[in-house]
Amino acid sequence: MLWNLIAPLIVLSVALYGLFRRVDIFSAMITGAKEGISVSARILPALVPLLGAITMLRSSGGLGALSSLCAPAFDLLGIPPECAPLIIIRPFSGSGALAMGAGLMAAYGPDSLIGRTTAVMLGSTETTFYAVSVICGAAGIGKTRYIIPAALLGDLAGYITAAAAVRWLF
């Protein structure tokens, strides 16, 4: 019940605080919304080929075959095997993972166990290899030492928790 109102409550509280601090909140919201349009425009070109390829892989039966191949290992960790392709792509590409997640939500329904697990995995992890290479590359760091193992270990813990949390909470 509360979750239905959380979004409006956050919007209202932020807006009231802005008004209290004498911010022209409406023009600020418009400025922000323009940013939202440019974010959407930036991810669309990447989503088109990726969602095309993913839908094709799903409708050819390939996604199902790959999932059942990974099933034993994922079962052990309590992760739905259908999420395997998402987990593989997640550390490499943000838009790829988003397309994969959208594909899984469309196929199994956004409120299904798989759809929700997908959303939680996407919402609580980052594009690990991309983030590490961009930040280290720009800062001139050559040897990343234990950064990659630490980040990937965190991701793995996240995937297991995501599946467990969705099972437990819904």
Binding site: W3, I6, I10, V14, A15, G18, R21, I25, A28, G32, A33, K34, S40, I43, L44, L50, L51, G52, A53, M56, L57, S59, S60, G61, G62, A65, L66, I89, G96, G101, A102, G103, M105, D111, G115, A119, L122, G123, S124, E126, T128, A131, I135, C136, G140, I141, G142, T144, R145, I147, A150, A151, L153, G154, A157, G158, T161, A165, L169, F170
Partner: protein, 192 residues
């Protein structure tokens, strides 16, 4: 580069599976359907995304983001011992971490790069990352997420009953994931 390879693998696998399974018609249509779905999906999530970007902008202009930044002073002292004396570096670190937590992807990356360069300079610009620089990159790669607005937008676009009902699960997951990676980083720091 990795994504280009993945794309080719997915296409090749689809064609092989379609031929073996006799699902060539579905697979052929699937490619076009997916491309169309991408546009529908982006249009579906655009409104939600614009709304949240607007709210974020109000938080920035009203100083609410800075308030969160100030809350981060103590964690920063613990995680970045090398930065203890340097207040401007403190500001950089707090900015980078809070942008990550708030999910401001566009601001988070440049802020992280700036803070990471400063940390790297303090450690004498050797090729390898200092422990504090490692910690910052780890935090950037597995940051705590308070409000996953893009995913909520995708859920709304896909027709979810309540697109935010995943929030408690996301908080739990992000907390576990961040604790594990930061904990691993701390263990490695004290070992070496």
């Amino acid at each position: 580069m990795a994504i280009s390879v993945m794309f080719c693998i997915m296409m090749a696998l689809s064609i092989i599976f379609a031929s073996v399974n006799g699902t060539t018609a579905q697979a052929g249509n699937g490619l076009m359907e997916g491309a169309q779905d991408a546009v529908t999906l982006v249009i579906g999530m655009m409104g939600t995304l614009c709304l949240w970007c607007g709210v974020t902008e109000v938080m920035r202009q009203s100083g609410l983001s800075d308030k969160l930044t100030r809350l981060l002073r103590h964690p920063i002292r613990i995680l970045f011992p090398e930065a203890r004396e340097d207040m401007s570096l403190h500001g950089d670190l707090a900015g980078a971490i809070s942008a990550n937590i708030l999910g401001l992807g566009n601001a988070a990356t440049p802020l992280s790069i700036r803070a990471c360069s400063s940390l790297h300079r303090i450690s004498g610009n050797t090729g390898a990352a200092s422990d504090s620089a490692c910690m910052l990159v780890i935090l950037g790669a597995t940051s705590i997420q308070i409000f996953p607005s893009t995913i909520a937008a995708v859920r709304a676009g896909a027709g979810a009953q309540s697109s935010f009902d995943i929030l408690p699960a996301v908080w739990l997951t992000t907390l576990v994931s961040c604790t594990v990676s930061v904990g691993f980083g701390l263990i490695m720091r004290h070992r070496g």
